[in-house]
Subunit: 119 residues, 2 copies
Amino acid sequence: MTDDQETGLTLNPKFDASGLLTAVITDEADGTLLMVGHMNAEALARSVETRTAVFYSRSRQKLWQKGESSGNVLHIVDIRIDCDQDAIWIIARPDGPTCHTGARSCFYRRVTETGLEPA
Amino acid sequence: MTDDQETGLTLNPKFDASGLLTAVITDEADGTLLMVGHMNAEALARSVETRTAVFYSRSRQKLWQKGESSGNVLHIVDIRIDCDQDAIWIIARPDGPTCHTGARSCFYRRVTETGLEPA
């Protein structure tokens, strides 16, 4: 990490060995964490340009626009980057449930000392 | 990903090749994304047990309790896990600024079409 990466106003992402950043999506309405995904340089550029969330699928090894099949697009309200430029925060307005299970958020279970429970 | 991992109530994290999960920390007060870190199995167990956020530092290759040097501990209000159990969401009450730069959040810059700007 360079000082400029941390304090400067130049976009200079620190991609991991696979060329990816972590992308965290929260709901503008109430800050609920909707999902965590990954973006390569092109997914980030297309997200910035289209103001809709575009990710890189590690399993399918290709770009995908969230909602391209479900219709549940994530409209981008704000995009932030963290101190060492390896994580992106997108504040979004979702068109519908974000999780492929149909849940509003992928984080529908609570971790307790004895296991998981519905949140 | 197995069906049980997605729908069951058994904690069965899908660690990456380095044995890590992505951990997203938001502020209980208003949903602000404070930081993104990583947890191995022990960091997760200690976070659940102590109700304070414990991470695994990839650069230092050891566990660290957030705030161990700065005093800015993250007190855990809720812990969630996502559908495929490879990401953790911690809703926390921070004792002070979370970013090592002194900023409240690590996400203090906005990404625009022309670069970054203070958020």
